[in-house]
Amino acid sequence: MTKRATIGFSEEQAQLLDVATTFCRDKSPIEKVRSLLEDERGYDEAIWSEMAELGWLAIAVPEEFGGIGLGMAEVVPVVEQMGRTMMAGPFVSTTLAAQAILLAGTDGQKQKHLADLCAGTKATLALSEPHGDWDLGHVECAAERTGDTLKLSGRKTFVENAETADLLLVSVSLDGAPALVVVERSALPEGALRREVVIDETRRSYQVTFDGVEVSTDGLLDPALTSAALTHVDLCASLLLSAEMCGAAASCIDYTVDYLQTRKQFGKKIGSYQALKHPIVDAHVGYEQARSHLYCAAFNFTQQGEGEVATRIAKAQAGDALSFAADRAIQFHGGFGFTHDCDAQLYRRRSLWCENQHGDAAYQRAKLADLLLQ
């Protein structure tokens, strides 16, 4: 597989890359990102509406359900640019929920939800649990069926934007196997949400307790497709996290290079010292590799087998690239790098979040070993 690695780039990707670059730069300057750190919601509702109007939430949804009919490959440049300016919000979680419904939803569920999600209804994923396992098939949260009703129990963790999402896509154990169910946030009782303190302060992450929550079985996705849907969501999430991390790595390196070009010590700009120049070049070279892997993954995403290989490689490499770039960014800013005011910490904190969602680099490589070294 590795020998035939290819890369391609569509006209639509080029246009979206262009538009998203300008949009994210204008709408999410660093002052804006910082002002939202303390904001309860964590993102700007007006910008969310603008994104919906631009059609970004509809990119990877077929036209028959109100979408534009492109694929995840075209979502990648948008998320890459969001990562570049550290723009926060429920774009990725909503996109992923739509993908799950698209793959495993019943006709009724697709008709009911997809057009809304394309238009700006917000959704999120409740797939992780306190045990912390990256295997999405490891589900302890349970559902019991009584007639047309499902009674849920258990807790989900790292549910992003749960407070503002309209829909939650929840994985539960039903009749001894994982199942996916769409839950309206309005069905959650008072006190079901607890905001988690997470390392990436641009994120709004919640623990959700489902004890006693009852929903109609109408919300149950096709059980025969649950396993495929979980795999698909896992890979879609990994792809978009890779995009986000690549974007962040690019701007983290730019940010650090700016400092190396201006800060003087011992009478010389510190970027002239090879002890700083060479590692930042290594960070840049690592980023370039990660970006090539990202667009290879985007290009091959729908290819059976190759899509998974390329995506897991992209996630591993983007994680390592951003992690190194952001770690060195703090160090190279010296004492200032140790402060909350220096943006280096925003990148490092974000990288620690992204790497630890859906499997870190070592986890991806272990999966790749199973795929490539038989």
């Binding site: 020998k3 890369i7 890359l17 070009q261 002239s272 930042i280 090539s292 892997h293 490589r365 790749l368």
Partner: protein, 402 residues
């Protein structure tokens, strides 16, 4: 030119594949060099010279160079296909690397009609081997500081000084030579001139250098009142630095124009998977060790990144931020990767990693040990990895000079 059809290209591919399948000699019964920098015996040299000539005569080298000078006059797409098929057949390298990749494109690009007629065909056929006289014993990576002198005497130039790390210097008929023609120039760069200089003249002596692998491949070249004709000067007197920089762009792969073929055989992580099946850890194949698996996958990820980088380099919207980045980074990435890949292959062998070429119990005849030691030639030659990092830092990231 009319558009080339897919059928023409696929027919050409089939022909090339069939030709290489029939004509490639993988094992001539002695050890073949993995790179053009390792040609150390006459046996290797004669074999590779004949091989390059055979490939050229069949039309699979220089296919896209102009017909008037000995090329095939075809579109570049055909040469790319031929080179791909050559690589797939895993055949020997092309011998005349300096001629094919640096001197040839330079002469086609900047040379006179007379120079093109005189040199190009011999480069392709391997009749005329070329070497490069840039580095000097005291000025390795600092090419601008070259001290070898060329002094005008009547119609001739008289050379004095020494060049080092001259790959295939003992076999070469010509040298691309950077020499100082004006020691009083306002700066060190302005005093340099560029020559297409003959090697078989009185006063030029080459002395082989034995490498850390135990093999030969480089020479030191000494010039003692060596007299070369005036028309060996390329371009104008005093513009040698500009010509040399252009040559380095070919060497660094920033410019196209090479005639195809390949002069380095890259080790492949998939070959190491085979090695990892043979080598053992605790009585089991090393391939079952999770740490080894992790390292192997990491190397495969990097190998693939190198391929993808070169493909992404052609997608303008994905390189517009820093257009020179991928081209300038590729030498650093590829050579450092090969060094680590070969090192890993030795580590993988456990105690038997200590065997060397000639030991019958060595895995793969000691290939990995030899390849690792040789891999430094590429991380040092053509600008060390540390120099490459300076170049990327300054030219791509815009950092101040060191």
């Amino acid at each position: 030119m009319s558009a080339i059809s897919e059928k023409e290209l696929s027919d050409y591919r089939n022909e090339a594949a069939a030709w290489f399948a029939e004509n490639t000699i993988a094992d001539p019964g002695f050890m073949l060099p993995l790179t053009f920098m390792e040609v150390g015996t006459d046996q290797q040299f004669e074999f590779l010279r004949e091989w390059q000539n055979k490939v050229y005569e069949a039309g699979y080298l220089g296919a896209a160079w102009p017909k008037a000078y000995g090329g095939g006059g075809l579109d570049q797409k055909f040469q790319t296909i031929a080179t791909e098929e050559m690589a797939k057949a895993n055949g020997p390298i092309m011998l005349n690397a300096i001629g094919l990749n640096w001197a040839g494109p330079l002469i086609l690009d900047m040379g006179t009609e007379e120079e093109r007629n005189r040199y190009i065909k011999g480069i392709l056929s391997a009749e005329d081997i070329w070497c490069q006289g840039f580095s000097e014993p005291e000025n390795g990576s600092d090419l601008g500081n070259a001290q070898t002198k060329a002094v005008r005497d009547g119609d001739d130039w008289v050379l004095n000084g020494s060049k080092i790390w001259t790959t295939q210097g003992n076999y070469a008929k010509y040298m691309i030579l950077l020499a100082r023609t004006n020691p009083d120039a306002p700066n060190k760069y302005a005093g340099l001139s560029f020559f297409l200089s003959p090697m078989h003249v009185d006063g030029v002596e080459t002395v082989p250098i034995r490498k850390l692998t135990g093999e030969y491949g480089f020479t030191q070249t000494f010039f003692t009142d060596a007299r070369i004709p005036g028309d060996c000067l390329m371009g104008e007197e005093g513009e040698g630095w500009r010509v040399a920089m252009r040559t380095l762009e070919y060497e660094r792969g920033v410019r196209g124009g090479q005639p195809g073929g390949y002069v380095m055989r890259a080790s492949d992580p998939f070959e190491i998977v085979e090695l990892a099946r043979k080598a053992t850890r605790g009585g089991k194949p090393a391939l079952e060790d999770p740490v080894i698996k992790d390292q192997l996958i990491q190397l495969m990820i990097e190998a693939r990144a190198l391929q993808l980088n070169s493909k992404r380099g052609h997608i303008q919207p994905l390189v517009q931020d820093k257009p020179a980045s991928l081209a300038l980074s590729s030498k650093l990435m590829a050579t450092e990767f090969m060094r680590r890949l070969n090192e890993f292959a030795i580590t993988l062998q456990g105690q038997r990693g200590a065997y060397y070429v000639g030991e019958p119990d060595a895995y793969d005849k000691g290939l990995w040990q030899r390849a690792y030691l040789n891999s430094f030639s590429a991380t040092i030659g053509g600008g060390t990895s540390q120099i490459q990092r300076n170049i990327i830092g300054e030219h791509v990231l815009g950092l101040p000079k060191s």
